[in-house]
Amino acid sequence: MNSNGAIRIGFYICHCGTNIAGVIDVDAVAAYAASLPGVVLSRDYKYMCSDPGQDLIAQDIREQGLNRIVVASCSPLLHERTFRGAVERGGLNPFLVHMVNIREHGSWVHEDGGLATTKAMDLVRAAVRRVVHHIPLERSRVPVHPDVLVVGGGIAGIHAALTLAAAGKKVTLVEREPSIGGHMAQFDKTFPTLDCAACILTPKMTAVKAHPNITLWTYSEVTAVKGSVGNFTVTVKRKPRYIREDLCVGCLECIDACIYKDGKFADEFNLGLSKRKPIYVPFPQAVPAVPVVDPEHCVHLKTGKCKDLCVQICAERNAFDFDQQPEFIDITVGAVILATGFTTFDAKRIPYYGYGVYPNVYTALEAERLVNASGPTGGEIVLPDGRAPASVAIVHCVGSRDADYNRWCSRVCCMYSLKLAHLIQEHTKAEIYNFYIDMRSAGKSMEEFYNRVSEEGVHLIRGRVADIYPETANGKDGHIGRVIVQAEDTLIGRIRKIPVDMVILSVGLQPQDDAEDVRRMFNISCSAGGFFLERHPKLAPVNTFTDGIYLAGACQGPKDIPDAVAQAGAAAAEALALIDAGFVELEPNTAYVMEEECSGCKSCIPLCPYSAISFAEDVLKATINAVLCKGCGTCVASCPSASIRQHLFEDAQIFSEIEGLLTHA
């Protein structure tokens, strides 16, 4: 409408309830704005982002002939889109609005109202000067590739993949272990309902394998990512398992045939509590049910001299291929869901808990394997000397809530500790002592579960364990001596020294060891603790700051299975929304060349990380492909002849902002 001609600026300041108005004198700022050149209307309103607030802008544009809008409220990262929409509804080009952040950068961070108000005025003055230089712009659209990549095949990745596949999308699920299932596959029962993990997980795992829309690549890792929202090119490394998945039928006879008659090498899935052969499936319900050959230990692969009994028994299918090499495959997808999960805290880092020193000190994950019927002891809780423990201490908060290790509460440990208490008591009738700091049983049915386990007679001692040491030396007959667990029972104010046969350390959850590499590869951010950072903790909990990349499960922060699944569904829905729109609108903040001023020096060309700048040999000028340009502006700042400019970040706009900030009216 009226974007040219005389500048008529409308100024709006938001109270945000008392969030802004409680610190900043909004009336004074509004009055001040009204005095600035070009401002023809200045208003304050309780909540600018509300419908009436937005309508106010649209209506004023229509009725007062406004052609530039400045909104002083919260961060543009939160509501720029909102106000652009309001401006557009008023009939003005959406890029003729500029926001002033007086909440996150103002009222929330300053205590002195007078100084915060002065700051707001400075920022408003800068914005008013800047917005004069805004011009109408058009958004361009790029098509979105309809396929999705899900990274990580734990419960979150599985659920996201199945949801997308059910919606008819083609999904590639990449998992680095030989089987999908993740940590959940290692658990025995799940809190608070105590349903068996395998019973609820296995059907979902097989559904992944069976779904025609899902390509499952296990024993594979993403090694490179290029492109951007709607169009990512992802390189996946498929590690050789030396058995062809397309030929293997999962009879597992090769494992029986192996020249190693018994397991000899630490079994990763059982955390080293049992031994496996050089050819193995991680666990009976593994998906795919295709064995993997461990090149570190396979005699054929190490020496080339083996009787190859495995190959012989597979003669009919002939699935063995010892010549397999790592394969790198590029796939193109429109969206990515990261569900890379967590790792558990390394209990060895707390020396006074004696993990790795005393053989009867276990981690909770090891305990999960011990109570699991398909685990190394067939579900028997036994000490390394074969005896069942008569007393067990479960130590909460190992590595969590601790400034020396991980500051956060790992959220699941209280409940899984109670679960283990219940299961071990059920299996062994042992006396169980849970040492906790605070019992965290938030969430549906959790408090009831806490109540149930309390009533089962588990000793709940409120106090963080301060020391674990042997009661007596281990016997010569291999008998493992008890250890004393020492803590202050804070509720009675006494030091308790409880001798137990077995200790279970409830280790916390922390980011995967290579989370940092993954983060860099996908160009997303991490929170302070190293978990992947969501775009907004409340309003965009599965989005990242990189469009088209979504988060599911514990890679974003510790969470239990119900929450991981819920988040996976949300991530799938976000991906679907992106894909089903078919295109993304790009922010028109691209760079462009003022051809007449370009000297053709080519210095901009190598600066562009997206190869968006090329050299037009015919006219000897640089030229920018607006679709490839991501709008960083590096070339703009570097052009020696100032002939590259950037929409929305024009030199004139930024200089007038600087001028506005520093000029006292």
Partner: protein
Amino acid sequence: MDPHAQASADWRPRIVAFFCNWCTYTAADLAGVSRLKYAPNTRVIRVMCSGRIDPQFVLDAFTRGADGVLIGGCHPGDCHYSEGNMKLLRRVHLLRRLLGDMGIDEQRLRLEWISAAEGEKVKTVVNDMVATLQKLGPLAFPERAAAWDLEMDEFERALAPAAALEEVTHG
């Protein structure tokens, strides 16, 4: 204290800050959401990438009266656009030299890598920079420039008769 500084009791350093959209601006938002409190001396100009920051922006800010300029970008290796921050870093090295020649203390230009998760760092960096500038005192570059201009005018005036004479001779 800066020899040119004439700090009055209620003087407060003015800092123009250029923050990149993805890391430092977001970190400043996080500081807000976390209700961290810091000195109200910064005025942030948002750019998409610290690589967009033209040395002229910095010079312009000083010549218009800023006492300090704070640049915030993503950590090396974390740039949303691959390595715009590294391009900026090279410029900042050159810029520092230039500022030195202009008699501007190098502490007045500060470059910090602040990731989106480091709200706390925004607070400490701003507070620290304000403390530093308090010690340095006002830069008062516009006044200084005006004094230089005056000096140049006088110099020219002093030369004027001679020049006029020369003109006459050659004319």
